[in-house]
Symmetry: C2
Subunit: 619 residues, 2 copies
């Protein structure tokens, strides 16, 4: 060992001891002959002192130290003079008086300084990631990631889940996202694919009787980079259970994420803004389908709020609402159906809707309103109608178009008080939802409507199984292997496919989707009927999902599960806005490893062995 | 939840309770009206009973059960009659008298039976792996793997190592093994490569000050399948430490593997056969290089035996010796240099060697000797010379060619006693080593020289840095980033490259290599000199290993580490001869996933997006 202690271990108890330390030169100060050097390692910092009268050679070597040299020093621990003690360091009451120095490795001037704050741009930080990792702000995130991995695996193991490492080389399923492909050398013309998720494998594990499975699974989707989506690879906490119903799955996911959050952070889990229960009660009608198998709405206040997909869309315009603050949408389509306000009335007569939401106790400036209007326009609105409730009554450019009954309706449903504002959306439902959703989030971020130490989890349940394509045919909206509410009976009597809902759920957190899952369809007959609606007949299902189809013939337990977006959850817990920050060696925004120069051109002989060649451009 | 208890939980304490069980029909017996069904899940088996007088519907449904149906049963726990108790089951003193049955899923007749023993061939087992997993013999291995993962991660975390997930998408380094490549969609004509090991990343983590890193890392090498090498992906326990010397690394690896073995198995760790210390002492001269930096030979008997690479080759003809039994080689080249035995004398005069080893207390039959001779021939020998020491003296077809001095020398070095045999190898050193190594292992397996509950770990140290190619030039024998013994001075005064040894080590176990590692070269000057010997100049190193070369300019701590072959270690601990057995979903011997049909042909449109096309055959 090149050291007897780390740079964090020495305290006043060590005074008088002979020690050997090794680390990086973080700071060097020459004080009238005495040289002081802060030696740094992963664990901490220790002050070392060089006195020419103690050892001239050591002193003169120390005089040659530059930042980030790696050095080994031998010396004796002594107390610092009282006035030099540093209470911010665990080692702040001692120093090492050095009598021998070995320079282990020199360093050129760094492209950026090793300090908590840096203004180096991301590309430089990524190119020299090994230097960036010396900054405690970067290192802490990587250490946190390790702690989260550790907590997660132990939690699931303690709860009787078995970790299974599912294959990384598997088969292409281009019906979901785009696959990454790997040409096979041994099987010319054939390709492996990296798994987009271990979905089929985990279901096969249930059919194999594994009962409870988990894995922090690497997943791979060839999608375009985004701030909350890492390129190439990402990780999910993948989990599946047999003989469970939706409530059982919710229990596991809720307990896990609550224990994770409270163990690893000081964040406070909020159950939603005041009054959300009342709003949900009022909106119960929005659970539109015949929910014979849906579990009861959780009433235990320790549980997370549950919104159906329909409710989430209707109240927040999103299937991943941030429930830490209100500003839910109220519908005024009926109110303005016959209005003299042509903008609203026109929207409605063309099949659209009018919705409004209330911002409490913020009178916005002209420029703030302009900003929000820009957000609305960027998301497809023509503008952003609003009413300001001042001390002497409502003010708005659109007020003159409204009659008393309409104003009354606004008053009744939204209860605006002095200092409040109302924003409107009018047009086709999809656009209105999107616009108000984005305006709502913009308000959150600009007017500090939430605290960063607050986390708001909620469930979004009962996703529609199908969506209608432009040509009138249907496609799966989400996971085709989800059990429809009503099981096989959901398909009886030719119902409208758009009214079939799946036992499918997401967990949202602070406006991000952080979990997705479902109770699976374990019934061959129901599965075949589910696929028939999207025009895939039994033979095609057999062909496309051969292993699953065959496995379904041999005794399948009811099962369900979920996958947490591990990276995204980590990003939220660390208050990072860019997912790249929580990887040790992230890909850049262009899906490149700028440090290793990946991807790269390869030798022609490598391609030849793989039975492929580059495609000439333009062909 | 579809059940109130698992099939393992009910005991006499539960008698009288109403319960709901769910699981697979493992066994059904109709005993004169009463039906008995063994219900199975991952946890155990519970006997359920159906009596037409208790519930006629339940009885008649039970009568329709076939093997592997998944059913849910409601009933009451009762004690079994004393004479029906089954002490082999935790639930063997109770049964559930059923009054309600739900068939959750039916099953066709399985392609093979769910039982501990199966004679189904591997391809069928892999195609229906989900059924194979229901067999406890298969499931136990997967559960063991999970336990080993769990133990490993917690062990390293408890010892202050930080888990870092290094990138799975990285850059091609074809100078090692063959890479798996992934065409980039976003960067036409460029490819990612999957990492053969996280070697460079873990060194960069050390340069980044992470100090102690570990990971159970997926690794990818496009090599041809083998019984002890899984296709496509495999896992290694990867570890790296800063400010350490070889002994520090050995301490970590030895402590880990000993605690792992003793915690998870009943295997006994052997320190080698009796007398190995004496043999090593005698062979000390085989440490030929000027070992200024080599650590002292460990003398603590709790430590693993250490052999230099030269010793291992010379004594066992292999760099991964099985040290649980003797049969080491003795050299008789000097003895037979002037012999009248032309076979031996010829070999020596052509630059070859004569070696011999002793098999104790086994007089082999003619056919056993023939078998071993076949092994020798298959590995390049012309035949297998031997002497049998019978009660009335040595017997051998070659005895007539030997003089008394030669027999005396054999006697002195090998000390054969009545019932022993000596085998000879003569010829070029490499072939002799290979032949005797294989004959030695064949003796082990055929004559039960070791116990399967015995595990013998040993270190092989001081690997040669270089090998000479046929054209006289040199290449790296192993890892070019290893520190040579003598550091930068190893290259001074133009030494013979073949006499430069690296601070590089393997751990062998029962004849397998299970760990490989080294103290790394952290000195730019030494690194550049090391590459110069294989004809790679500084510019080329910069080009090939840009990130590493650049990183070496900014303060590098001395560091070293290792990687355990996780799968291979698991295979040894479970006494499996085929590495595929310890994967949940293994690739076949042809690198295929026969269950999912991977690899597969893909759509032309997918290739087009990736800017590649298939190469026409023959081009």
């Amino acid at each position: 060992m090149h050291r007897s202690h780390t740079c964090w271990q020495l305290t006043v108890d060590s005074v008088g001891e002979r020690v050997i330390l090794a680390g990086w030169v973080a700071n060097r100060r020459n004080h009238g002959g005495l040289i002081f050097v802060d030696l740094r390692d992963r664990y901490g910092i220790t002050q070392t002192v060089y006195d020419p009268e103690v050892d001239a050679t050591a002193w003169s070597l120390a005089d040659s130290f530059r930042s980030e040299y790696v050095v080994q020093v031998h010396g004796t621990v002594r107390s610092r003079p009282l006035w030099q003690e540093n209470d911010r360091l665990s080692t702040g009451r001692v120093e090492v008086i050095v009598d021998k120095v070995v320079i282990l490795s020199e360093s050129k001037t760094l492209p950026f300084e090793v300090s908590d704050y840096t203004n180096a741009n991301e590309d430089i930080r990524l190119k020299y990631r090994y230097l960036d990792l010396r900054r405690s702000t970067t290192f802490d995130k990587i250490a946190f990631r390790a702690t989260m991995n550790h907590f997660t695996r132990n939690w699931f193991t303690d709860h009787d889940f078995i970790e299974v490492q599912t294959p990384i080389f598997t088969v292409s399923s281009p019906e979901w996202a785009r696959d990454y492909l790997i040409p096979s050398r041994i099987h010319p013309g054939k390709f492996y694919a990296l798994p987009q998720a271990p979905q089929q494998y985990k279901q096969l594990l249930m059919i194999g009787g594994v009962d409870k499975y988990f894995q922090i699974a690497p997943c791979f989707r060839d999608e375009d980079p985004r701030a909350d989506r890492h390129s190439c690879e990402f990780y999910q906490v993948d989990c599946e259970m047999s003989f469970v119903e939706q409530d059982d799955v919710f229990d596991v996911a809720e307990t896990f994420v609550q224990e994770l959050t409270s163990t690893l952070t000081t964040k406070k889990i909020t159950r939603g803004f005041r009054g959300i229960e009342k709003i949900l009660e009022k909106n119960k009608k929005l659970i539109t389908h015949d929910d014979t198998l849906a579990e009861k709405q959780a009433t235990d206040t320790e549980k997370f709020i549950r919104l159906t997909h329909t409710q989430a869309q209707s109240l927040f315009g999103s299937d991943k609402p941030d429930i830490r603050f209100d500003m839910h949408f109220e519908d005024f389509t009926d109110t303005f159906a016959q209005s003299d306000f042509t903008l609203f009335q026109n929207a409605i007569s063309h099949g659209g809707v009018v919705k409004a939401m209330k911002l409490t106790w913020k009178i916005l400036s002209r420029s703030e309103i302009d900003d929000l209007t820009e957000v609305a326009k960027a998301n497809g609105a023509g503008g952003l109608a609003y009413i300001i409730y001042e001390a002497d009554g409502p003010k708005s450019p659109i007020l003159k178009f409204m009659n008393t009954a309409e104003l009354e309706a606004l008053w009744t449903q939204l209860e605006p008080k002095e200092g409040d504002m109302i924003f409107f959306g009018a047009g086709d439902k999809k656009t209105v939802c999107k616009v108000l959703w984005q305006v709502r989030l913009a308000c959150r971020d600009r007017f500090w409507l939430v605290n960063s130490w607050e986390i708001g989890f909620c469930w979004v349940t009962d996703f529609p199984m199908y969506e209608q394509k432009d040509d009138g045919s249907y496609d799966f909206e989400h996971n085709p292997f989800s059990m429809p509410h009503g099981w096989v009976h959901a398909f009886d009597n030719n119902p409208d496919p758009l009214t079939i809902y799946g036992c499918q759920y997401d967990m949202a957190c602070n406006g991000y989707e952080i979990l997705s899952g479902s109770i699976r369809n374990h019934d061959t007959e129901a599965l075949v009927k589910a696929f028939a609606i999207v025009g895939k007949w039994e033979e095609e299902v057999k062909e496309r999902f051969g292993a699953m189809y065959t496995a379904f013939q041999y005794g399948v337990p009811p099962h369900g599960g979920f996958a947490f977006g591990f990276d995204r959850l980590l990003m939220i817990l660390r208050d990072e806005e860019n997912i790249r920050e929580i990887y040790a060696f992230p890909k850049s925004g262009k899906a490149e490893d700028v440090m290793m120069s990946a991807p790269s051109a390869v030798d022609a002989s490598q391609l030849r062995e793989l039975h492929i060649q580059l495609r000439p451009e333009g062909k």
